[in-house]
Structure formats: C-alpha cells, structure tokens
Amino acid sequence: MEPNRASICVPSLTPEVSEPTGQETIVVVDDDHAIRLSCQKILAKAGFRVETFENGARGLEGVTELRPALVIVDLKMPGLSGIEVIARVREICPQTIVIVITGYATIDTAVEAMKSGAYDFLPKPFSPEALRMIVNRGLERRNLLLLTERSELEREMLKRRFVTFVSHQLQTPLVAVHQYLDVINQLDDTQQTAAKKREWIDRCLRRTEEMQAIIRDWLTLAKLEGGTLSRVKVKVDLERIVRDIFATYEQLAAAEEITLEARFPEGGCFVPGDHNCLNVLFDNLIVNAIKYNKRGGRVTVSAELADGEVAVSVADTGVGIPERCRPMLFREFYRIEREGCKKVSGTGLGLLISKRIVTEMGGTISLESEVDAGSTFRVRLPEWHEDAGEAAGRANGD
C-alpha cells in the first residue's frame, strides 16, 4: 500500500526513493568463496534477498541491476579494489548503504573506506551475530535517510505548489456551490425539486462555511508568519480556555458519546501569550481529539507545572496516527484518511497553525500515538511569571 493515501499527495514525486519493503536486497562482493557462502547463508536466514559476486566488476553490474538496499564489499580483491567499488556504488545508487569487510582491519584502511562513503566496516573473521547486527544497523540508517529525503522533497514540492493547493482547496467547494446554484436555476419547479432545492441550499451553506474556515486558517497562518499574532504576552488562564472550548464542542462530543475531561492543578495554569492564539492552539488539538475519536471514546486534557513550564497533554482514545504519517503531520494540507475510517472534515491547516503558535511562544509540541488506541499531543509552554510578562510587554514596546 502506498504511504499517505492521505491529504493532497504529490504524484510520482520521488521515483528513485523506494520504500523499505522488509525484504531488502543485499549484494555481497568478495573474491573469497567461503565468505560469500557464509554471508549468503546468514543473511538469507534473516529474511533478506542475497546476491553474491566474486569480483568488483561483476558486483557493480549486479548493483546496477538490483539496486540493493545494502552492499557488503571486501576491500582487498584482485581487479577493481573495494575502495573503487564503494565510489562507484555511491554513484549508481546514492542511497545504498555500503559495509566493508576486511581481512586486515587496520584503522587506515577502514578510515579510507569510510571516506569513500562506506557506512561501517566489519573485520574478518566475524560471527553471524556481528554480521546481522551491522547489516541491521546499516538498514536502519538507510530507512532514516529515505524518510528524510522523502520529507524534504515533499516539503519542497509543497512549497512550490502551495498556491495551487490553496486555490484547489477553495475551488472545490466553490465549484460545488456554483453547480448547485446553476442547477437550481435550471430545474423546473415541482414538489420533488422544491425539496431538493431546500436541501441543496443547506449544503451550499455548509460548503461556504468550509471556504470560510480555509480562509480563516490561512489568514491566521499569514498573521503568525508576520508575527502580528504572537507578539502579545498577557497572563492567560489555560484552564479557562480549555473549559470554554469544551463548552463549545459539548454537542459534537455528545453526538459520538465522547467524554470530555479536564485535569488542572489547583491554583490553575497560566502562561504568557495571546488569548486568541492559545484558543486557536487548543481548539485545534481538542477538535482533532474529538473528530478522530471512536464512538464512546474519551478526550482528556491534563496540565501540570514542571520546571517553570506548563505541560499540557491532549489525549484521545481514537484511531491513532500511523508512524509513517507522523513526519508529515504538521505540514500544510496534510490530512490523514485511511480506509475504514470515517471521513473527517477540516482545512488541513490546523496542526501546522498549532505548531507555529507553540514555536512562536517558545514552547514545544510532540506526539505519541498508537494506531487504534489513540493519540496524545503534548504541549510545553513557558509558565507565567509576573516579572517575565511585564518584561516581555516592555520589550515589545507595549
């Protein structure tokens, strides 16, 4: 299954970035028959697809054809040397991890190999355990690289297409509304069409609300980027904010039999910031916790004071967020949609806005999640101090 069936995904974005499949291909290049055989045996048993080659030239042909996840290469071989093989592999498949095996593991040769782009080295003789460990470490490293590369590419692409996306996001509801109005205009008046028309007007209203939400979020983002929203620092009562938000969504939660619970320490939690910003931040997190919950679930907002900070967690007992989706979660227009999950409406900008607000306030936001069990967003913000607030006010020329 392709990752991110979610959101606006960018098609054929990363043709050469392949996903880790679990059954990765490993190429072994060594002139020593016994080494080839033992590598083959050990790694095949660990579930990998293993291809062995007896010299550098053959090995490179194999690498070109197989585009393996990992190459194990002997440094000292007749013909093409291991160092040359490393350099060529880096050219052919930059994402392939190269591990060097060497019979004379002097620091010098190992360093030379690493300089040429090898990931690590394994001195001969080695135990099966040592081989498995180094291979697994190499593959972990590769998966990390792939993930980063993928994220960066996506980010770049999104930046370039941001305007296109915003207009598409706005155009979709606009088209729906226009088409309804156009058809309403052209339909003959009968009893049947009258009922339809009334229903369609309701739908049109909902779609215009959708457009308003997108524009509102978009403006919030623009203001955050311009710094005009986050400059204010007054004493804000977080418990009050959370309870007000709960009151707003009481019905939404009740409709799905979701329990809303707030746990605040006695004496309350106060942070220096802008009331609206903090409201937007927790509104986003709480709405998500309700929308992505299960019927009969629970949303728990708990706050505590720790080391001059306020730590607030918003936990749900909902569908959870698959690990592969997490790197993209705080991006623009990212929406998680999975088969079997109900469709959730939203602008795709909420978490991005939340993250910006937290960052602007000098705090952090993080996520823990388990699929089918729920997600917890943790926000840490500086705690309010009488002096700090005034100082911040003065610094901003208030």
Binding site: H168, P173, V177, Q179
Partner: protein, 134 residues
C-alpha cells in the same frame, strides 16, 4: 432522449455529483456514482456505462489520469476501452499548460474536456453526442 443510457460519474465531491446527477437523471440518463478511482473502476465493470465522467483532480492529485490509464492499458478493462471518457477539472488553464507530463495529454480528447463548474447546456450536448447506447 436517451432513455436508460448509463453514465458513470467518478468524482470525490459528493455535492458536485449530486447536482450533476440530478441534471442527468432529469434528462433520462441512469447515473452511477463513485467517489474514488478504485470504486470507479469497480462500478465500470459492474454497470458497463455508455459514458464516463471523470474528475482529474481527486483526493490524490491526478487520480483521474490513473483511472484513465488503467482503462486504456490494463488487460482487465479491455472490454471497456471504447467507452468515451469526459474529463472534468476546475483548472482554468488549458490542459496542455497544466499537465505537460508525457502521456497525460494523450488521454484527453479536447472535445471531451470540460471545466468545472459545468456549463449545463453544453455538458448535456456533449453527453448526448458521445454516449454509447447498447
């Protein structure tokens, strides 16, 4: 009027489908709907329509092209290859400006490309002229 002729609409916007469906039904067509490319291909086989109305930009950007490509090139849809496909999109630019990627343009018949919102009289005219009736 092409009574009973079947139209399959593949579009991820339920509201858009609803309004266009009403127009088509009030003109005597039988309409089937699909919200995703995958569902569209299933319904294609199930109902064997005389015309497909296919949105280009669905949830997954150019999913419409994927559907078109599947029908044109996958063996499973060999018997459905001649069903005309009207591609619709809300993109104002001409398709060759917007979709310069190789192979994509081949899929669009200029006379069967329409922008959203649809001009209803023109749309009905296109449907009437191209739909296959068995």
């Amino acid at each position: 009027m092409a009574t009973g002729a079947r139209v399959l609409m593949i579009d991820d916007d339920a509201d858009f489908r609803e309004s266009v469906r009403t127009v088509l039904e009030s003109n005597g067509y039988e309409v089937f709907e699909a919200a995703t490319g995958k569902e569209g291909l299933q319904k294609l086989v199930e109902h064997k329509p005389g015309l497909i109305i296919l949105d280009i930009m669905m949830e997954c950007c150019t999913e419409g092209y994927g559907v078109n490509q599947a029908i044109k090139y996958q063996d499973a849809f060999e018997g459905y290859r001649n069903i005309p496909i009207v591609m619709v999109s809300s993109i104002e630019q001409s398709p060759d400006e917007r979709f310069p990627m190789a192979g994509e343009l081949d899929m669009i018949r200029p006379d069967l490309y329409m922008t959203k919102p649809l001009d209803i009289p023109r749309f009905l005219e296109v449907v009437r002229k191209t739909i296959r009736t068995s």
